[in-house]
Symmetry: C4
Subunit: 205 residues, 4 copies
C-alpha cells in the first residue's frame, strides 16, 4: 500500500480523524455499562444478586479508567500531530479497533474473573492497545514525519518510553496468570507507580 | 499524580474535552431505550404486556430528564472554564463514568420499582453524580484555577450551592427508602422546587 | 421555571446544542440495527429464518428514513436559530427524548406487525415527535424569539404548516388501526405526497 | 421530490453532514463488538468456548476494516464536496443506512460462516454500500454539481472507477457462494490488489 501513502490531507481531515477517534472512545466507554446484566430474580433476591455482581462493577470501573487513560494519551499525542497520511489513518483505525474491542474482554473478565483464560484475554487485549499506540507514536515521530517541528527529541523519547509501560506490565502478567490469576490482576496495579516514575524523571530532567 | 498536573492544554484540548463529554452524554441518554425490553408474548397479549411495562417507560423518561439536566449543568459550568489540566481531565472522566453508569440503575429501577434495593441503588448513583459534579466545580473555581477571571464570587457560590441540591435530596431519600420505597421516590420530586428557590434567590440578590 | 429563562447563551452553546442533537440522532438511527435479532437456528434453517424477518428489515428501513427525515428537518430549523435559552434547551431535550425512544416502537412493530397495538404505539410515538417539533418551531419563531430577523413571515408559516403533516397523518391513522392495522400502515404513505404538495405551494407562491 | 432540490445549504450544513456521517460510522464500527456474545459456560469451558468463537473475532476484524475503509473513502470524497442540497442529504442518508446495517450481516456471518446464505447476505450488503457510494460520487461530481471546480476530470474518473471495485468483487462472489461459501470468502480478498492496481495506474498517469 506504499502507493496510498503519498497524499497529504487538509486541516479538515485532521479534525475529522480526531473527532472520529473521540467518538469511538466515547462509544466504547459508554457501552461498557451494557455488559452489566440486569439481574432476573424475585424482588427479595435483588440485593443478594447485585452483591454477586461485584466483579462486573469492578471491571466496569477498571475498563472505564483504562479507556479513559488511553483517550487522554491519544489527546496528548494528537496535540503534536500536524498532518496525516493514509497509512497513519489505517494505524489509527487499528488502534481504534483495539479500543472498540475492549468491552468484550471486560465482560468476559466480569463474568469469569477467577479464570486464567479471562485474565490472559484481558491482559493480551490491553497489551495490543499499548503496542499499537506505541507503533503510532514511533511512526508519527520518526524524523518528525507527522508531528510539529517544535517537539524536541527528549519529549519524543519520553512518549516512547511511556507507551511501553502498559504492554510491559500486561504482557509480563500473562505467565503469572497461568500460575495464579489473582496475582496477575494485582500485578496490573504496577502501571500506576511506573507511569508516575517515568513522568517524574522526565519533569526533573 | 501531582506530577501530572503541571501541563496546561491548548484550546483544541478544551474543545475535545467538551466534545467527548457531549458524546458520552448523548450515548448514555440514547442507550436508555435499549433497556426497555421488547415483550415476548402472543400477539393478543401485547397490549397487556406493554401496560405492565409502565415503570420501564417512567424510568426511561425520568433518567432522560436527569441526564439531560446534567448535560445542561455541564454546559453551564464549561461556559466558564477557560483552561484544563490533567487532574481536571480525570475528574471529568470520573464524572462521565458516573453518568455512563446511569442506564444500569435505571434498568434495575424499571424492573424492581417497588424494592428498597433498587430505590437505594438509583438514589446512590444520582448522589454520586451530584457529588462529583460539585467537586469538579469546587476544583475548577477555587482561586479561579481553571475558570475565567470574569466570573464573580457570588456566581461561584451560587453554582456550589446548586450542585449540592441533588446529592442532598437523593442521599436523604436513602433512609426513607428503607422504610417505604415509594415515599422515597416522591421525595425525589423536591429537587425541582429547591432548584427554583436557589435560582430565584440568586436572581433577586 | 420562568426564572431559568433569562440567560442567553454564547455561540459555543449553540454549537453544543446542535452537536448534541446530531449525536443523539446518529445513535438512535444506528441503534435500530441492534433490534434486528440474529436467528438462532440450524445452518440449514437460516434462509427461511431470514425470510421470516422481512418485517424487521422493513421497519428498520422505515425508521431509518423517518429519523433521517427528522434530522434533516432539525437541520433546516437550526439553520435559522441564532440564540438559545434554557427553556429552548429543555424543549430540544424533550424532542430528542421522543427521537431516542423510536427504536423501541420500531422493534415492537417489527415483531408484532399485524397487531393494532404495535401500529398504534408506532403512530403515537411518531405523532409525539411531530407535535414536539412543531412546538419547538412555534416557540422559537414567535416574535422572532430565537431565530434570525432575516426569516420572513411566509417562511415561518410554511415551516409551521409542514411540521403538522406528520402528526396529522399518524394521529388519523390511530382509529384506522383499530379497524385494520395494515390499512393504517398504508395510510402513513400519505406523508410523502402531502409534504411535496405543501413544499410546492410554498415554492410557487 | 425535485421540488426539494432547490435550496443550497450553508457551510454549517456541510459541517453537520460530515459530522453526522462520522458519528454513524463511529457508532456502527463500535457496535460490532456488541455482537460478539459472552460465552455462558462453566469456568473450565471458557478457553474452549472462546476458541469456538474464532469466526466471530474474524468477522469483527473484517467488518471493522471494511467500515473503516468506507469511512476513509467518505473522507476522501467529502474533501472535494463544497456544497450540499436536499437530494444529496438523502443519498448520504441512504449510504449511512447501508453502513449502519452492516453489524447485522457481520453477526450472521460470524455465527453461520459456512453457509451460502450468510455469505450472500454479507456480500450483498457490502455491494449495496459500494453501489450507493458510487452513485453519490456520480451525483456530486457530474458537471461539478456539488464538488469544487478544482477537481479535474481525471481525478473524477479515478474515483468512479475505484467506487466500483467493491461491488464488482462482492457481486461476483454471490454465484460462487452458491457453489462453495469459503471460495467466495477467499474471493473477497481480490479487493486489495484491485484497489492497489487502480490507485497505482492513477498515480503513474
Amino acid at each position: 500500500v506504499a502507493v496510498l501513502d503519498g497524499e497529504e490531507h487538509s486541516p479538515r481531515s485532521l479534525d475529522r480523524v480526531v473527532f472520529f477517534a473521540d467518538a469511538v472512545f466515547a462509544i466504547a466507554i459508554t457501552l461498557l455499562v451494557v455488559q452489566i446484566t440486569v439481574p432476573q430474580v424475585a424482588d427479595s433476591g435483588l440485593r443478594h444478586a447485585l452483591g454477586e455482581q461485584g466483579w462486573q462493577f469492578f471491571s466496569f470501573a477498571l475498563s472505564f479508567a483504562v479507556i479513559g487513560n488511553w483517550w487522554i494519551a491519544h489527546h496528548r499525542v494528537f496535540n503534536h500531530v500536524v498532518r496525516v497520511n493514509e497509512r497513519f489513518l489505517w494505524l489509527n483505525l487499528l488502534f481504534l479497533m483495539s479500543i472498540a474491542f475492549l468491552p468484550f474482554p471486560t465482560a468476559v473478565l466480569g463474568k469469569y474473573s477467577s479464570t486464567a483464560t479471562a485474565t490472559i484475554l484481558y491482559a493480551g487485549s490491553l497489551s495490543a492497545v499499548g503496542l499499537i499506540a506505541g507503533a503510532i507514536w514511533i511512526y508519527a515521530s520518526s524524523g518528525h514525519r507527522l508531528i510539529s517541528a517544535d517537539v524536541d527529541e527528549r519529549h519524543i523519547r519520553y512518549f516512547r518510553l511511556r507507551s511501553f509501560i502498559v504492554p510491559l506490565v500486561f504482557l509480563t502478567s500473562i505467565p503469572l496468570a497461568l500460575v495464579d490469576p489473582s496475582t496477575a490482576q494485582y500485578w496490573w496495579g504496577l502501571v500506576i507507580p511506573l507511569i508516575v516514575l517515568v513522568t517524574r524523571r522526565h519533569s526533573d530532567a
